[in-house]
Amino acid sequence: MNSIWTIAKREMAATFDSPIAYIAGSVFLLVAGLMFFFGIAGSDDYFKGHEATVRPLFDFAPWVLAVILPAVTMRLLAEEKKSGTLELLVTLPVTDLQIVLGKLLGATGFLAVTLALTLVLPIMVMNVGHPDLGAVAGGYVGLLLLGVAFLSLGLLTSTWTHNQIVAFIIGLLLCIFFWTATDAILHLVFEPIPPVLQLFNFQVQFNDFARGVIDLRNVVYFLSVTAVAVVASTYSLQSRHWN
């Protein structure tokens, strides 16, 4: 556990030493804020909606996270591979799983800081109304779980290549796929989609959080996706031994 924590701290420090954290974080905050206040088309006005709610944040933030988080994870292992520091890392007394978990935890730290900064939105809403704080808390728990799932997918793509851009693009496609495209693709094959396969849709799983409900099924789902991606990342990392 200590090793994971050490790697996580190192990773988080590296993330915040690099300008990418600030660029990605600022872009996330700015775009999520713009969408919150003006809607996706830019023509709405939050204050004309007459509703003291943070729901627009939970409607739009997942889209932005699906784009921003692969940008953060793209360098986690791809950069280490490219610069050769991965070899140095694996000589340390840590398992591949600990490396992956440490990296994921470090990136989660960045996610948590970024999400914490969006708290200005509910604070602003509390200034002009009485939002349901329970629903707000539920939405943030959902964003955190969803974000970690995105990070784990991004981390997985980072293990596949030396090239950060390639890792970013594949990570982005994977996140967008899980967030939105699953339904359309599954409908091509199944009619109706069996309930088990409906599990693949992140949006359906996230909706309950945004309403203020923490459902065990949704929590387990996001943790399952993360677990599978972590295991896959670990074996992907181990694949260097196979050659």
């Binding site: 007394p93 591949d96 970024t114 629903a135 949006q203 074996y235 694949s239 196979w242």
Partner: protein
């Protein structure tokens, strides 16, 4: 520490890794699949809106054995269009299933769920099964081209609930926020319905017999009407050579006449026989009989039309045309019979809510009497064609008013399961009315009418009064003036109504104020539509203005079921209401300030400007003096307002000869109820429940007397130019009602929810009130100045990114200094 010092052996082959990965994936899928059937949830919302309340759990456990058949289309659309905006449906099927599962779990095995399967053998698609079960389908905005027609795909999401011999339908389950309310309402209703259906067994059986006879007849007639190529050898008719489809239909019906007569002939007799035991016992039963009688007459006409040619009579209307029309009429009448039967079957245990009518109040019923007798119109038309035109126009407006009121009654109340009844208080209020709503009368009530309300209150049944002391006209229409100016679209006025509720309420210790309550902060916007001239073109624009005359109440009594779970409620054009010191000091009474305005509200007497900028200016310069009570509840031993006074007499009915059709009429030709009421002893004191809301909730009454003010058919005999002006006034009056409703249309959702809560409370369904309020999750923003809104927006928008960038720069500076010190 073992994990940091000892490295586990990595998997040496791709196959091993793939097996391990597949195993992980399999475990994940199995765990998730196993969890699909569970419902372990943490509801973080403040009012636990996603958790079943105790009342719902009790309702589920009270019934012995309920079967819920669930109909869900296999593929629901992403969203569906609605007048108030598209409704997103993503994940809604799961939310509906989950909610029903919660009930099944909470019922301890008493509620069973059955899911309608698509294309089960012999039953068709889920949508077809749902339609058979009387579930109303809905469609999305996506249409498919079928031949040369656009067809909208039909979807269903709902359920039927069966308990012993009764059932209820939840047709369109499209609002997850209200699932609990709707399902609990149905469960409570099933119990009441079953218990009362045992007492109403005979009328229900008779109603069913009539319905089934009419249905069998109509089914066969419509079927025969469609069999255009059918032959009937016994009649010796051949259809060969006939190409006109109408004529074919006639021939087909003639051919099947013997069979049809067997089915349809007994309808008359059955209606007379069974109707005798049903008539007068239930208003829906009466409606059913009336429709069935009309159906019988239409069948006779159809028979006559088909027989004319055979009898060799000269036909005025071609038989094919008459037959087509009569087939359509028969089908319409069958649907009326069907509706009447459904209402009758639904009626056991349903509590009637009376709406007082006749004083320009909100009265969701058509007028009881026609505007004028058709014979009068014919006589006038012969004398003066212009008078006839004015008369026709007045008739059209009158019909539009009746249709609007009927639609409001149907859509707002009947379709939502309420049983409402028109109360004209110049005749006694019926015994089966369990609560009376006096909804913002704008004209004075007569002594006799007030006496009726008084005695109703003292009988222990709840009386709810909504008041409307002022009428606000903002950017309304005004017909041309005498100088010949055009129709004005900017008529603004604040006018006192001539309601005399104040006098009646005062006798019960309730003082209804005459001041208007305004608010500077907690307000809703008003939507003003204006005509704008630009570039020679005229077009309409709608703009929202924060409007102090639409204050939002935020202070509620949490002990009262009506407001226990309410968060806020806009109360348009509200005045104050308070209890007198004597009433408050009387320990026998329970007096509750149910709704109060905010601290930033103020009470002000007229004159008050109604134009938004002027009103805003006035409010800004007037100190707040709130909070004020806007709704008051009083329960206790009321003393009659007529104690010690002469009891008013019922207005004399016109002297008419005794009606042979009504042998039960009283000596003055009264109905039995009227006679019984007259004989009833005056009640000087009695336990009562009175709720007074000092606003009309923005739902302004649409009455013929108000819109067609000054209509007098006798004056139309001599036509003059004044009548044109009067006609324009009527039109403007009707349009102004629409304008005023449109201006507060954004509030109507909240207002109607509150009104439904009032009706549930009044009919002793208090548990439902709190559950419905849970579903109403709207939390309005305070109205803030555009400058403040802009400041907040930009501070929030740029604050957080700047903070992050600032932190980054600071961290970079610190690192640079540390690196420099290391170099040194």
């Amino acid at each position: 520490m073992a994990d940091t010092t000892k490295k586990s052996a990595p998997l040496r082959s791709r196959a091993d890794a793939l097996i391990m990965l597949a195993a992980t994936l399999g475990i994940a899928i199995v765990v998730n699949a196993l969890l699909l059937g569970t419902s372990v949830r943490l509801d973080l919302t403040e009012q636990k809106i996603h958790t079943l309340s105790d009342a719902s759990v009790t309702a589920a456990q009270t019934l012995d054995d309920v079967t819920v058949t669930v109909y869900i289309s296999k593929k629901l659309p992403e969203s569906i269009p609605q007048p108030q905006g598209a409704i997103a449906l993503k994940g809604i099927d799961r939310a509906f299933r989950d909610k029903l599962d919660e009930y099944a779990t909470a019922s301890a095995g008493k509620v069973h769920l059955v899911f309608a399967e698509d294309n089960s053998p012999g039953v068709g698609t889920v949508e077809e099964q749902a339609e058979q079960a009387k579930l109303e389908p809905f469609s999305s905005s996506e249409a498919q081209l079928s031949g040369n027609q656009l067809k909208f795909q039909k979807y269903v999401l709902g359920a039927t609930f069966h308990y012993k011999t009764v059932s209820e339908v939840y047709a369109k389950a499209l609002q997850p926020g209200f699932y609990e309310f709707e399902i609990t309402k149905i469960l409570l209703r099933l119990k009441e319905k079953y218990d009362n259906s045992l007492l109403m067994k005979e009328p229900l059986t008779k109603g069913k017999a009539i319905y089934e006879a009419v249905k069998a007849c109509n089914d066969d007639v419509q079927k025969a009407g469609k069999q255009e190529g059918a032959k009937d050898d016994s009649a010796g008719l051949s259809l060969k050579g006939t190409s006109d489809p109408g004529q074919k239909r006639v021939e087909s019906l003639r051919a099947a006449m013997a069979t049809l007569e067997k089915k349809c002939g007994p309808v008359h007799e059955l209606v007379t026989r069974e109707g005798a035991g049903l008539r007068g016992k239930n208003q829906f039963g009466d409606n059913l009989i009336e429709s069935a009688v009309e159906f019988g007459k239409a069948w006779d006409e159809l028979k006559g039309a088909l027989a004319e040619k055979e009898a060799g009579e000269k036909q005025r209307v071609p038989a094919s045309l008459a037959t087509t029309q009569l087939l359509s009429i028969l089908d319409q009448l069958y649907h009326e019979v069907d509706r009447g039967h459904t209402n009758l079957a639904d009626s056991p245990g349903r509590r009637q809510i009376g709406f007082l009518c006749g004083h320009d109040e909100f009265c969701p019923f058509p007028e009881a009497q026609p505007l004028f007798q058709p014979e009068m119109a014919m006589m006038l038309g012969q004398n003066n064609p212009m008078s006839k035109q004015i008369l026709q126009a007045a008739q059209q407006i009158s019909q539009a008013i009746d249709e609007t009121n009927s639609r409001i009654g149907e859509n707002l109340f009947t379709k939502r399961g309420y049983s409402i009844r028109r109360v004209d208080a110049d005749t006694p209020v019926k015994e089966d009315v369990s609560a009376l709503i006096v909804y913002a009368p704008r004209k004075p009530l007569s002594d006799y009418e007030r006496y009726q309300i008084d005695q109703f209150l003292l009988s222990g049944r709840p009386v709810v009064m909504f008041a409307q002391a002022w009428q606000v006209a903002l950017m309304n229409m005004k017909s041309p003036d005498d100088l010949g100016n055009d129709v004005r679209m900017d008529w603004n006025e604040l006018k006192a109504t001539s309601s005399n509720l104040t006098e009646l309420l005062k006798t019960y210790g309730v003082e209804l104020g005459n001041d208007l309550v305004l608010d500077s902060t907690h307000v809703e916007p008003i939507r003003v539509t204006q005509l704008v001239n630009k570039g020679g073109l005229q077009f309409q624009t709608a703009q929202d203005f924060p409007y102090a005359l639409l204050p939002v109440a935020t202070d509620f009594d949490r002990g009262h079921p009506l407001t226990r779970a309410l968060q806020n409620l806009p109360l348009p054009y509200v005045t104050t209401v308070q209890a007198t010191k004597e009433l408050r000091g009387d320990k026998r009474f329970e007096v509750v300030d149910v709704i109060r305005s905010s601290n930033t509200s103020l009470k002000k007497a007229a004159p008050i400007p109604v134009i938004p900028p002027a009103l805003k200016e006035m409010v800004l310069h007037t100190p707040a003096n709130g909070p004020h009570t806007l709704a008051l509840y009083v329960r206790g031993p009321f003393t009659s307002a007529f104690k010690g006074k002469e009891v008013p007499h019922r207005p004399e009915k016109k002297a008419v000869a005794p009606d042979p059709q009504r042998p039960d009429a009283g000596p003055k030709n009264e109905t039995p109820e009227e006679y019984a009421f007259e004989q009833r002893k005056f009640k000087a004191e009695g336990q009562g429940k009175l709720l007074v809301v000092a606003s009309n909730l923005g739902i302004e009454g649409l009455s013929r007397a108000d819109i067609l003010e000054g209509f007098d058919i006798s004056k139309l005999a001599q036509f003059n130019a004044e009548m044109i002006k009067q006609y324009q006034d009527w039109q403007a009056g009707f349009q102004n009602w629409q304008i005023r409703i449109g201006q507060v249309s954004n509030l109507l959702g909240d207002e109607l929810q509150f009104l439904a809560n009032v009706m549930d409370w009044a009919t002793s369904h208090e548990a439902l009130v709190a559950i419905r309020s849970k579903g109403d999750t709207r939390r309005p923003l305070e109205q803030i100045e555009p400058d403040r809104a802009a400041r907040l927006r930009y501070l929030t928008l740029f604050g957080a990114p700047l903070l992050l960038i600032g932190a980054g720069l600071l961290r970079w500076q610190l690192r640079r200094r540390r690196n420099q010190s290391l170099k040194v």
